[in-house]
Symmetry: C2
Subunit: 242 residues, 2 copies
């Protein structure tokens, strides 16, 4: 195990907190106590405390002590990005982004539509540059979330795209697409979505977004099926839209 020691100590402290059933607000044993308990220097315990402090689990007060700030259960370990397959991710996007698009149709402004049109034009113009096309794609989807004027909806969409961009599995798949003609298909999808948004059609926008991501799913499925047998574990039954 070539891990940095403070992380190990931090984990041990978490276990100690659990064992002693500490409640939020309770005072933790001092750094010195843990140091002796684990047989390490106080420096290491202090580093572990900093880790837990940044994770918002504890609060450290000079001269006074350290206190439990949150429950361990609220320390939701978000699923590791790399543990989520591209198809599960696309399904989540399909469910959530179609709902967001439907909501956006109700609150979208002329200025939003204007920006979406500009981004769409950019997508068409940048067909040869994978990087720029991808970034315009992202921009298009996030603009829709922004049009809901709801911070949390934008935040949710942003999280999904961040996960996508940092998922190595997805990059593998995406690399295979760059020279294909699928981008053209997707731009047409985007046009459909924009049309529905212009009409302020809630159900229309929902369906257009759903269909768009359905197309993306189909494309990636075909590619991974024929060329990349390593995605087996990530492929599972896909429910259909009624």
């Amino acid at each position: 195990m070539a891990e940095r020691l403070y992380r190990e100590i931090g984990q041990k402290i978490r276990l100690e907190i659990e064992k002693s059933a500490l409640q939020v607000g309770d005072k933790l044993p001092t750094e010195r106590v843990y140091a002796e308990l684990f047989g390490v220097s106080r420096t290491l315990v202090r580093e572990a405390f900093i880790m837990l402090e940044i994770e918002d689990l504890i609060e450290v007060r000079k001269g006074s002590g350290s206190y439990l700030k949150n429950t361990l259960s609220s320390q939701t370990s978000l699923p590791e990005i790399s543990d989520v397959g591209p198809f599960e991710m696309l399904q989540a996007r399909q469910v959530l982004e179609s709902a967001i698009a439907a909501q956006a149709a109700l609150s979208i402004t002329k200025a939003d539509i204007q920006k979406l049109q500009e981004t769409l034009a950019l997508e068409g113009a940048e067909l040869n540059s994978v990087e720029k096309a991808n970034s315009a794609d992202r921009e298009f989807h996030l603009l829709i979330a922004k049009a809901t004027q709801n911070t949390l909806l934008l935040d949710t969409a942003t999280r999904l795209w961040e996960m996508r961009d940092s998922n190595p599995m997805w990059h593998q798949l995406h690399a295979r697409i760059k020279d294909s003609s699928y981008h053209g298909q997707w731009i047409d999808d985007h046009k459909d979505i924009l049309t529905q948004l212009k009409k302020r059609s809630e159900s229309g926008a929902r369906q257009a977004m759903w269909q768009h991501l359905e197309n993306v799913k189909q494309t990636l499925f075909a590619l991974s099926d024929t060329e990349a047998p390593d995605f087996d574990g990530y492929i599972f039954a896909q429910p259909n839209k009624s």
Copy 2:
């Protein structure tokens, strides 16, 4: 400023990274360099490095150096929970959870339905205990997200509920409800949702969940309108469901 020093140093280092336009993978100046630059001990710089390491911005390798692991821009600062009003939050839940419920209707199992029924019974039995009723409420909603069998959908729903539970504004409102009869109404809503899930009706589940959260919105709106003028800033036009 009573802040812990290592945070200040960490922030300064972030600024230095920005100023020197470091790219991902580049090597950072050594701890000793920063220590001299800021006129502090290496211990503090090391603590700051630990902070940045936990934030996943840098990677520290013994004997070699520290390296930039992520871009500064990807250090997305999520919107502060307290900045999001209860109504904006409810709207987000309405949009997202109704979509999740619709998806759940397609993949729900008998075992899921069984668990939902038990939780529903618990809600009815715990009408007098605010805490337990609330926790059963949460459980009911999260079980639905779990029934989608999609990690990210469950993760999204969990995040929303965590935000709710840690939002002081919401607790204020919730405190006013405890002795009212609204819980009964909400349990009826839950029954409707469960009925639709049993029928595996996608649109039925979507509408039932939407209506449920619409009812919650109405209730809270009425309460805040008559008794709590301090929520003005958070109340905004609510789009209607078609």
